[in-house]
Symmetry: C2
Subunit: 186 residues, 2 copies
């Protein structure tokens, strides 16, 4: 996976930049001494301050109870270089294998939660469970991002976006339309 | 905007293909005889059957009460050719201007809801409000997609994905990893 990726902390109010485009993420968790990771594509930013992200985590996932019981997770942002690991993680269960070892992912300590970060990812958003009102009905978790670390480069990571049926879209060109925005909308 | 775009109906259980990648969408509504449209980037797929999509619609939007009162909207999928209209719609209020006329968008009848579709978009997902339990707390609407129409071509639309600060990512290359999937995960 190459060398160590240099990262810096960023304000949690600004994480929409990485999550709003809709990438597939790797969600890591720790509960009763064991760590796990799952692939997740159903998430949305919900608020800047507090920094809220909503995620659907199907109850059939081994991670579901780990995250609900611990009340914590880390949302990690993989890039296209990690695509085969992303697919592998999404097609196996933490009840059966150690997915970190199985897919060459490195668990590293987080700043504020017990759940590990995945070193090979571009960014790490450390989360605490903020509201579980819709968990029973829709498996919908509202998390508060409490710390955020992002790779110093590249500025625009080549994230992957799931289309279903085993196909992914890779992040393409960047267009700047800021000149068309009202100043208060930027 | 070119000629009329040929579209066909698709099963509502399959709309994750267009929404899960995280594109900016145009949400149209109709209430008390007036139509409106807003730009929205905070959404997530929540379930296949029923076909559920969660959207954050800030209460400051003119569309907020139109959608809540009517209990309907259409989620339209714009492509990069419509980017300046997408930005214009997001930087103006339906309380002040007719956004269809202002940005060259054509309102056309939907199949099952009163809210119009936007003819220039690649796809239209007709929605009914399914659950407003989190609207007061988070402006979070759970919609059921009741009908879906999608352009016959291209197969992979060049959608736009918002990064904040007036910048957008355009959908890039498609990678097929279906051979790495478990059959029951496809």
């Amino acid at each position: 996976m190459g060398g160590r990726i240099e990262k810096h902390e960023v304000p949690v109010s600004g994480i929409r930049r990485w999550l709003e485009p809709g990438p597939v993420v790797l969600v890591s968790s720790r509960w009763q001494g064991r760590a796990n990771v799952m692939t997740l594509g159903w998430h949305t930013v919900m608020e800047f301050t507090p920094s809220l992200v909503g995620c659907v985590i199907a109850a059939s996932n081994h991670s579901f109870s780990m995250i609900r019981e611990s009340g914590q997770c880390v949302i990690n942002l993989p890039t296209v270089e990690l695509l085969d690991a992303v697919v592998g993680v999404g097609n196996t269960s933490g009840a059966e294998i150690d997915k970190f070892q199985g897919f060459g992912l490195t668990a590293e300590p987080s700043l504020e939660v017990a759940a590990p970060a995945i070193a090979e990812c571009h960014a790490h958003f450390e989360c605490r469970l903020y509201d579980d009102a819709l968990v029973d009905r829709y498996n919908f978790f509202v998390f508060e991002v409490v710390r955020a670390r992002v790779a110093t480069a590249p500025e625009h990571p080549r994230t992957v976006h799931y289309l279903g049926e085993g196909r992914f879209m890779v992040a393409g060109e960047i267009l700047d339309r800021s000149s068309l925005f009202r100043p208060d909308m930027l």
